[in-house]
Each structure stands twice: as C-alpha cells, then as structure tokens.
C-alpha cells in the first residue's frame, strides 16, 4: 500500500487519544522525576476534550487534526497547548485538500510540523525535549519516501526512529522547560515530552496501518 485515504482519518485520531489516555499515569511519573509531574494530566486534558466532542462525529484526517490542534491551542495553554497545537495544525494544513495521503505527504506533514515547532520553541535535537523524538522520525519518513518505500515500511521505520530518539533523551541534560533548572541532575531519565511524542507517533502509525489493513 502506497497511501491511505484522508477520509479514513478518524480511527487514526482515536488511536492517538487512547495512546495518551492509557499512558496518562506513566507520563505523569516520568515528568515527576525531573519536572512537576503534570505532563500526563496536561496531555490527557486536551485529548479527552477532543474525544468528548468528536467521538460521535464524522471527520477525515485533516479535519480531525485541525480540531485537535485547535483544542490544544485554545483550551489547554501551558507549554503543551502551543507545542502540540502547532504540530497538529501544521499537519492538518499540509493534509488539507488531499484525498490520498502518500508516504511523501506524510513526510511533508511532519516536516512542516517540525519546522513550525522550531520557530516556536528554542529547542533542537540534543536539548532533551520532544524534538529529539520528532526530528529523527521526520528524517526516517524522508528517507523512506526517497527510497520509495511502501506505507507500511515507512511507518515501521518512523516508529523505530521515534523510539530511539525518545531513548536518546535519557543521557541528555535538559536545556528547556522545567527540567533544565536541574542541569546535571536531569541526566539519567527520559524526557516526558519525548515520551509523549513517541506515543503519539506510534499511535498515529498504528492507526494508519490498521486503516490500510
């Protein structure tokens, strides 16, 4: 399979919702180690709101991403609202108007998200944030696209890249957000945002694979 239909987006979105809801406590625990312990709660709030409002609606991938992004931006605040809000809005913008979404479309979507995020936050790879998950995931999709990989393969490679990106944060010193105040003491644990970003990318990929069967 080289692509999937934009109109099949709903299960993909719902998969991301369950990914966050199931990992609420886990994300809280990780954030508790070097942050303030509220990352699970913060993420859960936005995704639950989306679920409540859209569970019973019909929508395609780009619409769903936009609504989710809007909820995060307009109703969540903190750091996660603008960060993930920007990510999903950028993805929605790129997917907008497309019936079929190819591997290279996927790459465009995530690459645009990454670029807009870079503009918003100061963080880059190596700073122990969600950028460490997102950046290699985007690179993996780019590579898969260039190599002409099918959707399934591309997604598997993206997941792998996201996971090793996430794991790479363990040995880093935090440069942004609350944990950055800890300096050396922030080393040795995963970054909460890198973990939630990985969960989201995994769920996103799993959702698409489910849809394309």
């Amino acid at each position: 399979m080289k692509a999937f239909h934009n109109k099949d987006g709903k299960p993909v979105l719902m998969r991301m919702v369950s990914g966050i809801k199931e990992n609420k406590d886990y994300l809280g625990e990780i954030d508790g180690l070097i942050g303030d312990g509220d990352h699970g709660m913060n993420m859960n709030k936005g995704f639950s709101l989306f679920q409540q409002r859209f569970e019973k609606e019909t929508f395609d991938l780009s619409e769903g991403l936009r609504e989710l992004g809007m909820i995060l931006l307009n109703e969540i605040g903190g750091s996660m609202g603008p960060i993930y809000g920007t990510v999903f809005m950028a993805m929605a913008d790129e997917a907008d108007g497309k019936d079929e979404i190819t591997v290279s479309d996927l790459y465009q979507m995530l690459d645009q998200a990454k670029k807009e995020l870079e503009e918003l936050v100061g963080a880059r790879t190596g700073d122990k944030t969600l950028m460490d998950t997102l950046t290699p995931a985007v690179a993996a999709l780019e590579k898969a696209g260039q190599e002409g990989a099918d959707m399934q393969t591309a997604l598997v490679q993206m997941k792998k890249a996201a996971e090793s990106g996430r794991d790479s944060t363990k040995d880093m010193i935090a440069k942004f957000g609350r944990a950055s105040r800890l300096g050396e003491r922030s080393r040795g644990v995963l970054d909460a945002g890198a973990v939630s970003c990985c969960i989201l990318l995994q769920s996103f990929a799993d959702g698409i694979m489910e849809v394309i069967g």
Binding site: G32, D36, G37, D38, M41, N42, L73, N74, E75, I76, G77, G78, S79, G81, P82, I83, G85, T86, L120, V121, G122, F176, G177, R178, R181, L182
Partner: protein, 336 residues
Amino acid sequence: MQRILNDPDNIVDEMLSGFLKANSDIVEATENKRVVKARCKGEGKVGVITGGGSGHKPAFIGYVGENMCDAAAVGEICSSPTAVAFLDAAKCADQGKGVACLYGNYSGDNMNVKMAVKMAQKQGLTIKTVIANDDVASAPKNQREKRRGVAGEIFMWKCGGAKAAMGGSLDEVINAAQKAIDHTRSVGIGLTPCTLPAVGHPNFEIKDGTMEVGIGHHGEPGIEVCELETADKMAKRMTDIILPDYPFEAGDEVAVLISGLGATPVMELYVLYNEVEKLLQEKGIAVYRAYVGNYFTSLDMMGATLTLMKLDEELKELLDMPVNTVGLKQKGKEKG
C-alpha cells in the same frame, strides 16, 4: 495536604468565580472565562494586559484595575494561559491604540503570547510585548534574556499602566514598562516547598533548617541550598545578589518590594524589610517607596522575594500614580 479545596481540577474556575464576585467593584468577567477585565477602562488609551499561570495570588488578576492592567489572561496552576486567552484579553483592552502585553519570561507564556500576537496581527490588532526578567538568580548577567520574571513584574505593570493612563502611545507605554523592568532586580529565598493541589504532595524538598537561595516562583531550583539564616543574614545575602547586578549605588533612590511566597507570616516580612532598609541606608541608597506583603506568591511556599527598582524622575512619577486594583491600592504621592 491541609487545604481548602473542592475538586483540585476545578480550583482555577472556582477561585475565579469567587474573585469576580468578591471584587465586582474593580473587575468583571468577560466572554472568555479565562480572561478578567477591569471595570474602569480609562478613556481612549493604550490597552495594558498581562497573564500567567494561577497560584501566585494576587498576581495576575489582582493587578487588573484602574491605572494598572486592563485585562489579564488566566492559566491553570503554574501553567501558561492559552494563546486565545491572551488574544481575548488584548481584544478586551484594545481601544484602537494598540495593546501592551507585559508578562513574565516562561517558555509557555512566551509561546502562547507569540501565537496571540500573530493571531492579533491577522485581525488588525497591534500587540507589543515586554518580557519581565528581573530574577537575578535564574541566569548569569550575560544571559539576562534567559532570566525569569518574578515580583518585579508588579513594577512593570505599575509603570506601564501609569504611562497608558497618562495618555502615552503604545511605544511610550512599552518603553516605560521596559525601562521599569530594566531598572528592576529580584531574588527569592524559599524556606519550604509548595504543593500543587492536584498533586497533593510537594514535588521538591527544602529540608527543615535549610533554605534555597534564588528559588523560582514555581519552585525552580535556586543557586544554593544553605543553612537557614537569621533575617539580618538573609537580607545581606539577598542584597549582595541584587545590588551589584544592576548595579545599585550610593545616591540612588529605589522602590523596594518584599513579597511573601504565600505561607510566611507578614510580620516576618517586616522583620526582613527592617534589615534590608538598614543595609540600603548603610550603602547610601534611599528608599522612595516600600511595599511589604504578599504581592506575588507561590501557593503555600514559605519564604520571600526581594525586589529593587532604581528610580529616576520618570519612574517616580509613574510609581506615584494612584492605582486601584485588588492587589495594590494607592492614593498617589503622599510622601514628603
């Protein structure tokens, strides 16, 4: 956790509801339930707004009112308000002359304000910003742009708000607020941690008999943990951090603000002020105005922040302007 709460997840909404009812002579609700605006708007002036996470009472909503902020965006506990809340606050405050958004240097606030400014632009509304960075302990002097904003924000709002009330243009208001914060330095000492109501236990520790110098308003670690000192030594330590940073020097006139962090008895803030005043006097620095009380808190943390603003004639005039907010009421210049 010995706290007065219902569901901790609703604390911000409930607090806002109580705040609006109790202070209906000064503030009022808006269409966005996370935006509070002043009842008294002033006439055809530049709008002044702020915003930030909750848990710092009376900041931020307590500084909305006559001659200070026209509206404030309200976030969850220790979490930035949304971009839309900042945008809606700006819309409430706008009278066609633009809006000054005066807020503190935290990454969430920076992101949300950035987005609000963009959205406003698309709608033809100009927002300019000043980002408070008065907390000396939060980054070295050559990285001032990284420093957090703490209680010094009150001077920024006071001066920016006064300039707007005096009919200043948007640029003049921005310049006054920027000047105020540029002339301001703060440092905090934490004596106990604070507990987020939804978490239920402190998420960091300050051992009994110790104190954390340079602590942030959300419990951000300071620059040093040392043995608990007497008030005179604390005052010395705080002034030693602040004075050389600007620097403040003999012959200067300053405004002093000592704010409790929430759970320290105000009596003790006066004991601290007494020592600070002595040290300033020894150095030939004159106190033009002093503010001692719980002006910018961190939930139930014990401890205090010390803030100094170096004054010139312009800042004095702005500081002396009468103000009527929940957190700060002032009749205007009465000192000799």
